[in-house]
């Protein structure tokens, strides 16, 4: 079984660099006068979200997640659901657009409107990337590979995090997204992917991945199912709240 270097001086510490840089940049933007009265709580959300994802590739979580399926469940939730949700809620793109200089801001704006990004942030695409990735991770040889090879683990974590971010952003993100899908499509995508996610968690309970003892598999699956359920309900709440905010009394209510 692969071990991340004992003592914690592994290559993972390199991830501290981009993570710290991102957090520093965010705080700089928040405190800068250009961003207007950017709420401090968003900076806290961004920091927490970055921390959540980072914690999953550092020890002790990293090593323990290879040894215990239950801990893998926790890191999966942190990197793939909670981390992305916190980051999306902190609206980093809006902050960037406000605090960057004109030229980089325009470039960012153009990038947001680009075809590849439109494709990636379409709820259906994002949902498929997420669920598909999870099926691959838990149900194919990728599971063993990521435990045995640190780079594979990092790649999988990167995919998990970015797919999670794109998915959450496409559904409930408040950053600018001129081509955002309609409410009904987002609701359908959320319901179907939540169903698929729950079904996968239940099958993991009944049939854990290779090399995982039954009791450990069950604890992990329970964590995935219920932890995932909490985040799903939060997403449903946020989505419905957006509808509620936009359906002002002067107009007739939008049909759900």
């Amino acid at each position: 079984m692969h071990q991340h270097q004992a003592g914690g001086f592994g290559a993972e510490l390199l991830f501290l660099v981009p993570a710290a840089a991102a957090v520093a940049a965010y705080w700089a933007g928040t405190l800068s006068s250009r961003s207007g009265a950017w709420p401090l709580y968003r900076a806290v959300l961004f920091t927490a979200g970055t921390g959540a994802v980072l914690a999953t590739v550092l020890d002790p979580l990293a090593t323990r997640s290879h040894e215990e399926f239950a801990v893998l469940g926790i890191t999966h939730l942190l990197a793939g659901m909670l981390g992305p949700a916190l980051l999306v809620l902190s609206r980093p793109v809006s902050l960037a657009l406000r605090s960057l200089d004109v030229v980089p801001a325009r470039r960012l704006s153009r990038a947001l409107r680009s075809r590849p990004l439109r494709f990636l942030t379409f709820p259906v695409t994002a949902a498929v990337l997420n669920i598909g990735g999870m099926v691959l991770m838990f149900r194919t040889g990728l599971f063993t590979a990521m435990h045995e090879s640190a780079p594979v683990h990092w790649l999988v974590t990167f995919h998990l995090f970015s797919a999670g971010y794109l998915y959450t952003a496409s559904l409930v993100g408040r950053d600018p997204m001129p081509h955002r899908a309609g409410f009904r499509l987002r609701a359908a995508a959320l319901i179907l992917s939540a169903a698929a996610h729950n079904i996968l968690a239940k099958t993991l309970y009944a049939d854990p991945p290779p090399g995982v003892p039954a009791a450990d598999g069950q604890s992990g699956a329970l964590i995935l199912y219920y932890g995932g359920g909490v985040v799903e309900i939060a997403l449903i709440f946020l989505l419905c709240r957006q509808w509620y905010m936009s359906a002002r009394p002067q107009r007739s209510p939008v049909c759900v």
Binding site: A195, I199, K202, T203, R241, W243, Y244, P249, P253, V256
Partner: protein, 127 residues
């Protein structure tokens, strides 16, 4: 209640457990969405001051009762998707289920009928 807490049955028990899991997954996801969306719809009615509590209650009773009756007859008996509970005599469960459904439909219908001409306080403004 019956699927998750008591775990008496899945949505679709006629086939393998796999199919039962699948149908439960969909049902569960859709159900939670309906709960949250319904609460926001309720909040929307309230902020427009067009909520008629008696009428709302009537509608909830009618809807719940109708679904329960449909479930108890069509789904349990006609399509035989699942029973209320297994390894027990079915008749008392079925009777209780369907009779309480009928009672809810009746209560709901009565409430809706009695409020059929009612107008909410805020409906004149900005409609």
């Amino acid at each position: 209640m019956f699927h998750q807490l008591l775990q008496w049955h899945h949505f679709y028990d006629k086939s393998t457990t796999a199919v039962g899991l699948f149908s439960d997954g969909l049902f569960h996801a859709f159900g939670w969405f309906a709960v949250v969306a319904g609460l926001f719809l309720f909040a929307d009615l309230r902020r427009r001051a067009v909520l008629l509590p008696a009428r709302w209650t009537g509608a909830v009773l009618l809807g719940t009762g109708a679904f329960q009756l449909y479930d108890g007859t069509v789904q349990h008996k006609l399509m035989e998707l699942h029973q209320i509970r297994y390894n027990v005599p079915l008749l008392p469960y079925d009777l209780l289920w369907n009779l309480s459904a009928a009672a809810m439909i009746l209560a709901g219908a009565v409430l809706l009928y009695r409020t059929r001409d009612a107008e909410p306080a805020g409906s004149r403004a900005g409609a």
